[in-house]
Amino acid sequence: MGVGIKVDKLNAWFGKTQALHDISIEVPANHATAVIGPSGCGKSTFVRCLNRMHETVPEARATGRVRMGDLDIYNGTSAVQIRRQIGMVFQKPNPFPTMSIYDNVAAGLRLNGFSDRKRLNEIVERSLKLSALWEEVKDTLKKKSGASLSGGQQQRLCIARALAVEPQVLLMDEPCSALDPISTGKIEELIFQLKEKFTIVIVTHNMQQASRVAEFTGFFLLGKLIEFDKTEKIFTTPSDKRTEDYITGRFG
């Protein structure tokens, strides 16, 4: 099952430039939450702070409190432990090109010293089924490389890879921006199903996508969280004029 994320007064910097200002938000468990906003508003920085990927950038730092269930992400928990529980899918599908489909999905587990072959087979199959890719690749699991798949299949492979380590939260940073409408539709359908088992946070530039997949939406502007509410409220009657101006295309 997924867990909720509670963010309290999160601030983030790149060197001297402050990218996030006092972000406080509660991401509910087992729901999809969309993060929207114009380029450079801090939405990707925000999700990268949730699994401490932000700190991998030289001179980047963050302050504040992020709790995932009982876990205090910035206090007493290792980054490795965090990332095992918070999977991430990026804009561009990035399967390991020299590895087979099977090895791509198993990579995270093997990295963690997992060697039970029978159990590994089960997890690879389950992960590929969860990512709705199993039927398309089950006969070529060990014959084909991840890079031989189509863009949409590669992205679902990356989702399977993220799911294999059994995270509780799945972060998706514009997961469909490089995909055609059919592949996008499959990923969106997948997000809908994955919500039952995981908590999902999705960064998207596509507001129709946010309205289709997410129950909650946060609007970021200039590093600040302007509004966070149920998605239907954000897209029909937002409370803040800046949100309305953005989603109606009057700026951004």
């Binding site: 897209f235 029909t236 937002p238 309305e244 109606t248």
Partner: protein, 231 residues
């Protein structure tokens, strides 16, 4: 700024205003025809109906295109939904004007009867409701629309009074039953026009505030300031 989309919204607004003008004119002509027993005006109302119907189709088509092609959100989505509903109400206002005109054409054939009902006063109140509901749309002002909702009760009372008085007249003076029945039906048509004006006002409030005030349900607090710079 989405220029093409904004142009589409401006066009939709302009067309609805033209349609509103036609519907308002039809009601005014029908009311004037009642006062003057003027057949020529009745014919003008009947001939104007096709123009209103044509305008309704064009507005729906443009709204449908904007919904499909531009995927509007928030205030723009509310605006287009409101326009499609107001469009439908205006077309029905035109239909009611035609009903009134047809009833007057029947009345004119009969001897003039002195009926104890002030249809002209009711017509003036209803015309004012239509005009103000359209003004609230033009201005994008929810307070103007709210005032229209309050006027509906006054027209309802006028209709109830007309019913009581005219039914009594039919009992007391059977020789003017047909004239009284025509007047009673006209009062009902006018009350329906007032209902459509009320619907229009409710749709304006929905557009501006995002609040659904239909069926006397208490509205939620306004989402933010009044619309001033949208189409």
């Amino acid at each position: 700024m989405r220029t093409r989309f904004q142009q589409g919204l401006d066009e939709l607004r302009a067309r609805l205003l033209r349609m509103g003008g036609l519907a308002e004119q039809a009601v005014d002509r029908a009311c004037q025809a009642y006062t003057d027993r003027d057949l020529a005006r009745c014919h003008m109302v009947l001939e104007g109906e096709s123009q209103i119907n044509q305008a309704e189709r064009e507005i729906d088509e443009l709204a449908f295109d904007l919904l499909a092609m531009q995927q509007p959100m928030a205030v723009d989505l509310r605006f287009i939904l409101a326009v499609t509903k107001i469009n439908s109400d205006l077309e029905r206002v035109g239909d009611q004007a035609v009903n009134i005109a047809e009833r007057i054409m029947d009345m004119v054939e009969l001897p003039k009867a002195d009926l104890p009902v002030d249809i002209a006063r009711m017509a003036a109140a209803v015309s004012a409701m239509v005009r103000r509901s359209l003004e609230s749309f033009i201005e994008g002002k929810a307070e103007l629309a709210q005032a229209v909702l309050e006027m509906d009760n006054v027209v309802d009372r006028m209709r109830d009074d007309a019913f009581i008085t005219l039914v009594k007249t039919m009992n007391d003076r059977p020789e003017v039953t047909r004239q009284a029945l025509d007047a009673l039906l006209i009062a009902r048509n006018l009350e329906r026009v007032a209902d459509h004006a009320t619907n229009i006002a409710e749709d304006v409030i929905f557009w501006v505030r995002g609040a659904d005030v239909r069926h006397n349900v208490a509205p939620e607090p306004p989402v933010h300031q009044e619309v001033t710079d949208t189409p």
